[in-house]
């Protein structure tokens, strides 16, 4: 089975990348072996406590909890990008595996296809 790596690299709500990316991961999980990597501002996708009532936008962040139910258990993030934003794993809706630059480089090469959001 081909291995797909979805990369979330935008903060939520400012653009549609996050929502589109999550939808694509959940759909893709029906057909392929999927993993997701949170890079740069993408780590903000997972921040707890998002409340979008005042914006005309859906709080899709809660749906990240469904990743495990869809069989997506390979969830990674850049350790450095968490640190520079003052975030810890406890601040996040699901806890990704933090990777160092060497490990990030390795997974970019390991997967058959990379899908950027």
């Amino acid at each position: 089975m081909r291995k797909l790596l979805f990369i979330q690299s935008h903060a939520p709500h400012g653009t549609l990348f996050g929502q589109e990316g999550l939808d694509a991961i959940l759909a893709g999980s029906a057909f392929a072996d999927c993993a997701v990597l949170f890079l740069g501002d993408g780590v903000y996708q997972l921040l707890k406590g998002q409340a979008t009532q005042s914006l005309a936008s859906r709080n899709y962040s809660v749906s990240y909890q469904a990743l495990f139910d869809y069989g997506v258990d390979a969830i990674f993030c850049s350790a450095a990008d968490l640190l520079t934003r003052g975030l810890t794993l406890e601040d996040l809706i699901v806890a990704p595996t933090p990777l160092n630059p060497k490990e990030l480089e390795a997974i970019l090469h390991d997967y058959d296809v990379i899908l950027d959001f």
Partner: protein
């Protein structure tokens, strides 16, 4: 008296770029992804503006949507859309950065 509007996160370095153009008497409003610049971790450019006494605002709807309510520095005043409109009237000119 210029109203500066910033809608990009620190990743885009927009704050560093605009900070040099903010004079005494101006104010800065952070909105959309710009509110990430208001987190206490945001760095030197924001601290410098605070030190200079520049009024700093963040749009509360954008702060809440991103889960940042508990992460803002104490020198950032939260505003709603009505207050944003009032500021845009009070300051005769505005400049959007991002």
């Amino acid at each position: 008296m210029l109203l500066h509007l910033l809608n990009k996160s620190p990743e885009h370095a927009a704050l560093q770029r605009c900070a040099g153009f903010i004079r005494h008497g101006d104010c800065l409003v952070l909105l959309e992804d710009g509110v990430y610049c208001a987190t206490s971790n945001a760095g030197a450019a924001l601290r410098e503006l605070i030190k200079r006494g520049i009024p700093l605002y963040a749009v509360s709807a954008d702060v809440e949507a991103r889960g940042l309510s508990a992460r803002l520095g104490p020198d950032i005043k939260l505003i709603n859309y009505e207050e944003l409109v009032a500021l845009s009237i009070q300051y005769t000119k505005s400049k959007r950065w991002g």
